[in-house]
Subunit: 273 residues, 2 copies
Amino acid sequence: MSDKPPAPSAGLRRDMEILEVLAGHGDDRDTDGFGVSWIAQRLGREKSQVSRALRALELEGMVERDAVTRRYRLGWRLFALAARSQQARLVQVAAPYLRRLATAFDEDAYLCVLRGNRVLTLLSVPSSRAYHRVWEGITVPVIMAAAGRSLLSEWDGERVRELLRATLPSGLDSAVGSEDDWLAELAHARTAGYAVSDVELDDGAAGVSAPVRDHRGIITAAISVSVTRAAPPERLHEMGAVVAETARELSTALGLPPSGHPVAACPEPPGAD
Amino acid sequence: MSDKPPAPSAGLRRDMEILEVLAGHGDDRDTDGFGVSWIAQRLGREKSQVSRALRALELEGMVERDAVTRRYRLGWRLFALAARSQQARLVQVAAPYLRRLATAFDEDAYLCVLRGNRVLTLLSVPSSRAYHRVWEGITVPVIMAAAGRSLLSEWDGERVRELLRATLPSGLDSAVGSEDDWLAELAHARTAGYAVSDVELDDGAAGVSAPVRDHRGIITAAISVSVTRAAPPERLHEMGAVVAETARELSTALGLPPSGHPVAACPEPPGAD
DNA sequence: AAAATCAGGTGCAGCTAGCGCAACAATAGC
DNA sequence: GCTATTGTTGCGCTAGCTGCACCTGATTTT
């Protein structure tokens, strides 16, 4: 009598509820999954319905069932779908944010990821100013890229040293000394939420960068903004704060829970106009 | 024509097909997403149907639509769910180990699991070298993957034969002969703790791999490192030893008791058919 | 030991929700 | 401006889902 009006795609809704239950409380104590009856009761639905739906979902690989305990958990297909498109999605979702930065500072903005011991630029948005060097698809050593510090900022110290040593051919003993400096800078970037690098290499660009996290909270990319005009340190830190905030927004849009809590509200990306 | 009987869960099937299309091929030309008509045509379905399904999926957050281009791509919800899957945990734990391998050898490193008779790559850590396509979320036949040998190394011989026959279309009679070779290689991999595969298929990558065990000692995954440059056999075996050791460390991190193998071959066979 | 309890699956009738066609709306193209 | 293309909606018809009751099989109770 009350409401049954808005019930389109009831099947999908049911499936999503089931998946959400299987996703669990986020805790990892539920590693053995959940049984049909339990899910049905929790959803207030018929067992038969849940049973059939789960079978269908299993057929599609969205859930998988433990052969012995007969319990269900999320399946490989979900993971495969996400894995295949996460990079494409990253680029797409990031674009508007980079544009915002590029126009705000009138500086080139970049989206970078770590590839081996080099930094790969996935997307670059040019400023209005003169020549814009195309970096997309280009890799540079971590130490040379502005985004490098952000990408490594949460790495284990030992790993960073290994990577640095692997990067530097060995001829540079100045580097040996600067390893500690680097680690210190990483620590600073970690606390500040952004990294500032002034000109280090002849060609190496100065810039500010901040880490982008995926839905799991792992740093998977970094955005950076070049700094082509002389600017006082405090100006750089102002920029850093903005870049860091933008990176946070982007992370949220990618599915990162706003404050380290299960998924919730809407990750509304600023629709380009 | 006459058979429409086996059509349960038609809605789910449709949704999955759509998601599969949206996931693309991992190539990066799909970065713009896809339009309704294009998807409909590709699936051989009615536009209206696809349109409505996409709207429903969007409502659930499984897909999202670019505000300006009106094209769809996978949504945050799917990523959030994927992050909660069992595989995600594996990936998270394994990532540092793979990174270490990738930087140590400057070769691509992979984490793979067995999915039916194919090998699914869960995580690929690219080296710094030339562009490499995304393998994450992609499946390849067991015989083509470097990790295949490690994943099958403790299987019953008969079952391996079955799987090989099911995999090979049948046209390849050379395969019939090589079945025994394969079994022999599996035996070798079992004793050595790692598997070395040189180039077998035109595209098939050479590589070394080693098995990863869960807390029960059962092989649940494999890590492998590609070998893109010519290397003498002894070099490959050096690498194999390193990969095997890394796999052991990873297994321990996953909860395997450090002491040798508690070994499978227990009350529970990996699937009594 | 038999019987009770619980989890999961199946058969079936009734009815809802999704399908397909085609008209319509909204853009893009010329 | 008009036409071509893409995306949305109205609606009758039926495929497929819901929900009840019953069945199987494992685990526990007394």
